[in-house]
Amino acid sequence: MPGRVLQVRSGEATDAGAVPRLPLDDFQGILADAVTAGHRASAYFGEAWHEGVILTAAIANDARGTIGLLSTRVEGVMPSLAPECPSLQLFERELVEQLDVGVAGHPWPRAVRFEPARVPGGAGAGAPMTIPGDHPFFAVEGEEVHEVAVGPVHAGIIEPGHFRFQCHGENVLHLEIVLGYQHRGVERLLEGGPTPRTLAVAESIAGDTGIGHALAYARAHEGLAGVGPPPPRAAALRAVALELERLANHVGDLGALASDVGFLPTASYCGALRADFLNALAELSGNRFGRGLVVAGGVRHDLPDDAALRLSDRLEKAWEHVRAAARLFFRAASVRNRTDGTGTISRALAAELGLVGPVARACGLSLDVRASHPFAPYDTTPVPVALALSGDVTARARVRLDEAERSAAFVLAALRALPPGPVRAPPAPPRASSIVVSLVEGWRGEICHVIRTGADGRFARYKVVDPSFHNWMGLQLAVRGQQISDFPLCNKSFNLSYCGHDL
């Protein structure tokens, strides 16, 4: 690959013109070889360019801590790589939908978000022609085979999506998930930036991952500005916030899993204990989701050392309570009876689908951007990667608990030893005609933001890949052969973002 792929590091910008522009065959060959060899397509996206489309791929090499960038120009139709590289299937569908690129041989070339195309006449043309659900679903026919339709409006207070099950009795033969209901035009709102709105939109890509996405944006912006890393105290406070977000969500998820199997003690304790971590974010930022905390150049608020110690003491107590509540959950036979062996994904399948985050780690795949593409302070204070092997609901719960435990240890230590100094460097504008890839390990997994600036220094293309984009297919396959009554449990064990996918 050397010479034909530009190697960059996460958060470090480079001249956009330096990204190799390869013939389509070479581009697809390199991409397929890299994915087959176990590397990950962190982003793969297009931009309309004169009569054709420029495709850019960002391939993460975890062993080296680098990201390979390559591009090509395509006109009309290209062959699909999805049959040999299933992890690319949704990226290709996105190219079809956004840019009208023809992909020949794609096994399931359906709409991704039902968004208006970016090609001339399509961009900003208002409401799309069709809405999600108006869709030819994969159907199974046969005696006693029946279909179950759920959504878009679900029973709980959750986001909308449509689930179409093909069942034989209680058994799920196939599940197709149709999303797009949450599409808000995030990428297009970010393009043309930076503006005062940029950060607010980034924080709302997936509201439960506000810190993760804000950090991915801020690091990309800092890279483009070429100002170097933020002050050490800012970097430490950012990491504290990112781990608090992980803690709040993982603890909440353990409670939600307990709720779905009817184990009420852990359900009610974790529901309330989650608040301790959200409230810690509010101590930092004034907002329980940490909004307004991360800014390009650092963080908006400092935490005095004595306050950091008091916060640390409170979080230590909160964590002890979580541990007690989680112990009840993992020891209860009635829980394990539901979670053991339910919704299993094999390691090989997880790798093939390109799953990320706790879901992948529960299958034994050691993927964690904090370890493989670290930024300060994770480079000097690594957080051990939590793994499980069984790939079932139990494993996904266990990985969440182990990760939360390591995050708690990290936060307590970080708050007790915040480096001195300022928390914010003066803002600087992004440089013109540059490209940057920014990877952050959010609580659901790898968040990838790619920004290319135009000649005017504005964001000409802003690509967001939320971890849920990689993982929804995992859920669809996890429920195959399971009882349909286990779907809520499987769904909760993945706990994916609808709006993160729909953008």
Binding site: Y269, A282, L311
Partner: protein
């Protein structure tokens, strides 16, 4: 089993004292903005230049913040060279009309109760159906939190239910994406009258950061066949106590204007 009981004993009572006792909020919590328009110099628009949602409009004697669009990020207060903008810890932000959401001074305004007939129908038992229409899951998470053992909506007879047919009203979050409009309309039509329409969060009120997006509607106002919103709950997302306060005032279950807030004691130890 003994473990379950011992853990229960150790964790103790988790429900907050509100509304009988104080609400504990962190020092930096940003609630109702307090504005001093006399400090606004002519031709200064620093605050407007940093606002992500065009919520703040400066001017001598004319300074105002639309809390229906405000994300409560605090950027304007931070940027104002004159100290004309301050965010208080008054969490009581919900209002009955869109106009009332516009703050112009330092005067708390509280949501008015429903009329006597509606209070009789909903006052002791209110069942709500939530619809996320482009909501980012922050508002949804806080509405869920409002029902947990800490905030415990259930103790006031308020509950979120699974079906619109069991509901007395809808709580809408999100800017209403074009792709959710039909589903939202159908859910509204499936809700039996009399029914309430509640908009929770900046997105549902004004579009929030997604205002002007060609694939969003800019909130739920007048979207459902012109149906007026009965209660607006500002915030990004609204704090669960803001949700509670709005609902209780709407039902006439909370009267008086005494604000009882205490500090958490993390940032300042001497809060007592």
């Amino acid at each position: 089993m003994i473990d379950v009981l011992l853990t229960r004993l150790r964790l103790g009572r988790q429900t907050i004292a509100y509304p009988d006792g104080p609400v504990r909020l962190p020092d930096r919590f940003r609630g109702r903005p307090a504005l001093d328009a006399t400090r606004c110099p002519a031709s200064c628009d620093t605050c407007a230049g940093v606002c992500p949602t065009d919520a703040v409009h400066p001017g001598p004697g004319a300074l105002r913040i639309d809390t229906g669009a405000c994300l409560f990020c605090g950027a304007c207060a931070e940027a104002c060279p004159e100290g004309a903008i301050r965010f208080t810890r008054d969490y009581r932000l919900a209002m009955r009309t869109r106009d009332e959401l516009v703050a112009t001074a330092d005067v708390p305004l509280l949501a008015r109760a429903l009329d006597a007939r509606m209070r009789r129908v909903f006052g002791r038992s209110l069942r709500l159906r939530q619809v996320s229409a482009g909501g980012c899951n922050a508002c949804e998470a806080e509405l869920n939190a409002a029902g947990n053992i800490q905030f415990d909506l259930g103790r006031f007879g308020i509950q979120f239910v699974a079906s619109p047919r069991h509901a007395d009203g809808l709580v809408v979050t999100g800017p209403v994406s074009a792709n959710m409009r039909v589903a939202l309309e159908k859910t509204w039509e499936a809700t039996p009258a009399p029914r309430l329409l509640i908009a929770a969060g900046a997105c549902a009120i004004s579009g929030g950061p997604f205002a002007g997006s060609p694939v969003c509607h800019g909130g739920v106002d007048a979207l459902l066949h012109g149906v007026p919103v009965d209660l607006y709950v500002p915030g990004c997302p609204p704090h669960p106590v803001t949700v509670l306060d709005g609902l209780l005032r709407l039902l006439g279950r909370l009267e008086g204007d005494r604000l009882d807030v205490t500090d958490t004691g993390v940032l300042r130890e001497d809060w007592r």
